[in-house]
């Protein structure tokens, strides 16, 4: 068989090449393992903590916290992750823990890392606030395309799926868990917070970031701060932020609020002092925020999102004419 390769026809060689390519693709797919490891944080409650990073080809978009509650009437999933693959792996991770079927998949808001895993679940289980459903319907396609650019192959096959079930604020009892659905806004136009009164866990969505600088593409800082002061009044034992480690107390609420206050002050002063946007980008980061993950990058993004509005306000105070 030494000379075998020379005896192979051109067609056979092409076939072998094709098989080899197929194998490489399979291996590639197998490599796309988020390594999801649910951590128990309270009775029947698990969290999958994402990395405190920006979206990348390395993390496949797993920068977000997803969670699930196992009740006697099925599993409640809170946020479905950044991709179809994440959603599928989340389902498998849940199935390793319980035989209960997933009955609810709730999206806290319409950002892609919180809903692009929806596709992996039964469409009838998907639920969100009306504002979130509308946001996914109008912006989901663009978010998805953008995630392909930022996370590459991890996104294979992912399509945005908007929930069909609209949630309203108020109490919701599922399988013995007394949930309180709290409809707020500020991070986006619709931010859902879920307080599980049975376990004392507060699922804060992206209204709260922990040791990771907040993102602001759809932010209204004043409304966000008002939402945070509402959260500060709740009593709970465990806080699950949208991004960053789970906390035993309300400290991440204050941390997020302090960041937003600093951002707001910095941008308002800059606009009142006539700074050009490039000068605002070059301003130093307040020392207390330098320890937050990717604070410099998020500050730069926030200047891009928010400074034009501050600028407009500062200039409108001046002379307007035609």
């Amino acid at each position: 068989m030494k000379n075998a390769p020379a005896l192979l026809s051109h067609g056979t060689r092409s076939l072998i090449a094709l098989l080899a390519l197929g194998w490489t693709l399979l291996l590639g797919a197998a490599d796309q393992d988020y390594g999801l490891a649910p951590q128990p944080i309270a009775d029947n409650t698990w969290v999958l903590v994402g990395r405190s990073e920006d979206f990348s080809f390395t993390n496949g978009g797993n920068i977000v916290n997803a969670a699930f509650i196992v009740t006697r009437d099925g599993v409640v999933v809170i946020d479905s992750g950044p991709s179809l693959a994440y959603g599928q792996q989340l389902r498998r991770a849940i199935a390793r823990i319980t035989d209960q079927p997933v009955k609810w998949v709730i999206n806290t808001h319409h950002h892609p890392d919180h809903f692009l895993g929806n596709q992996a679940f039964d469409a009838a289980t998907l639920a969100a606030l009306p504002g979130t459903i509308k946001g996914i319907q109008s912006e989901g396609g663009a978010f998805n395309e953008n995630m392909f650019r930022l996370a590459g192959d991890w996104m294979a096959g992912t399509e945005p799926v908007a929930p069909g079930r609209a949630l309203a604020a108020g109490p919701l009892e599922i399988g013995g868990h007394h949930l309180e659905l709290i409809a707020l806004d500020g991070h986006t136009e619709a931010d859902l917070v879920i307080l599980d009164r049975t376990t004392g866990v507060l699922f804060a969505g992206d209204l709260v970031f922990h040791d990771r600088a907040p993102t602001t593409p759809h932010a209204d800082i004043a409304r966000w701060q008002a939402s945070l002061s509402q959260l500060g009044k709740l009593s709970f034992k465990t806080l699950v932020p949208g991004h960053g480690p789970v906390s035993a107390g309300p400290a991440p609420i204050r941390q997020t609020s302090a960041w937003l206050a600093w951002l707001d002050n910095t941008l308002r002063q800059a606009a009142d002092n006539g700074l050009d946007m490039t000068e605002v980008l070059a301003l130093p980061m307040a020392p207390e925020f330098r320890k937050l993950a990717i604070s410099q990058a998020e500050y730069h993004r926030s200047v891009g999102h928010l400074y034009p509005a501050y600028e407009l306000k500062a200039l409108s105070g001046g002379r307007r004419g035609k």
């Binding site: 978009g61 070059a282 730069h300 307007r320």
Partner: protein, 260 residues
């Protein structure tokens, strides 16, 4: 032979620099390593013009532009003397020219916003009184994304009523002189989107109270919608009031007082 010519060229360049007393000017080799530089050199400058790279021409822009429709750029050529005109362009933009300005009495610098199609060098070419073009620049990468996506654009029909309206404000500068910031309401369409013709701010002039010119700006399609300009006036040209005038490529004119 080739080596000898290179050495000779190098010697001449060094001599040239010494004679000019401008040790920072790098006459050859694009510091931004752009594959488009040779084309840019041909397209933007006369063959016989002296074109050099010069660190004293500062172009500031974010390394990564969050919103490619609204990328802040500022140009500062105040380390040079006798600046006659400044041409700003982006090698990889479908429309390369962005803005051209003549700092007739203002500081030789300008802040503005641009639209970028893809990652590209953004450059400022400064023509000084000796006819030399001095070039500075920086790469800008454009991405966006997810929680990091740009804000949803405000595609409001409001501009039709307010076209050419100017918001402005004047600040005293710690360094002396004054800073003026202007925002002009204008959609600035590139003409590259199907069915929407090019519609852009072609000219903007700033003069002092007596009408003496301070800055002449020529805009091209890649300026951002509702552009904001930042410019500085040296103490000796500060004025009790300023006047802005301008027009777009459709002949709409604008005129506004900038008083304090």
């Amino acid at each position: 032979m080739k080596m000898f010519r290179t050495l000779a060229a190098l010697a001449m360049l060094l001599a040239g620099n010494l004679a000019l007393g401008a040790p920072k000017a790098k006459p050859a080799g694009d510091p931004l390593d752009s594959p488009r530089w040779t084309d840019m050199r041909k397209e933007m400058f006369p063959a016989k013009a002296r074109v050099v790279f010069d660190d004293r021409v500062k172009v500031t822009a974010p390394l990564t532009a969050e919103n490619p429709m609204n990328v802040p750029v500022s140009v500062d050529a105040s380390a040079l003397t006798d600046v006659r005109e400044v041409l700003v362009f982006a090698d990889f933009n479908p429309i390369v020219r962005i803005v051209r300005f003549e700092p007739q009495g203002a500081h030789p610098g300008l802040g503005f916003r641009i639209k970028l199609q893809q990652s590209t060098p953004v450059r400022a070419a400064v023509r000084t009184g000796d006819g030399t073009w001095r070039i500075g620049g920086t790469w800008v990468n454009t991405t966006g994304g997810g929680c990091t996506l740009p804000s949803a654009g405000s595609s409001s029909p409001e501009w039709q009523k307010r076209l050419g309206e100017v918001s402005s404000r004047v600040w005293e500068r710690k360094e002396g002189g004054e800073r003026i910031r202007l925002r002009v309401i204008h959609p600035i369409d590139t003409g590259l989107a199907p069915g929407i013709p090019a519609f852009f701010l072609q000219e903007l002039n700033l003069a002092d109270q007596t009408g003496r010119p301070l800055m002449h700006v020529e805009g091209y399609e890649p300026l951002a919608e509702n552009p904001v300009f930042t410019l500085d006036i040296p103490a000796e040209r500060a004025s009790a009031a300023y006047r802005v005038s301008g027009r777009d490529n459709n002949g709409n004119t604008l005129s506004a007082e900038v008083d304090k």
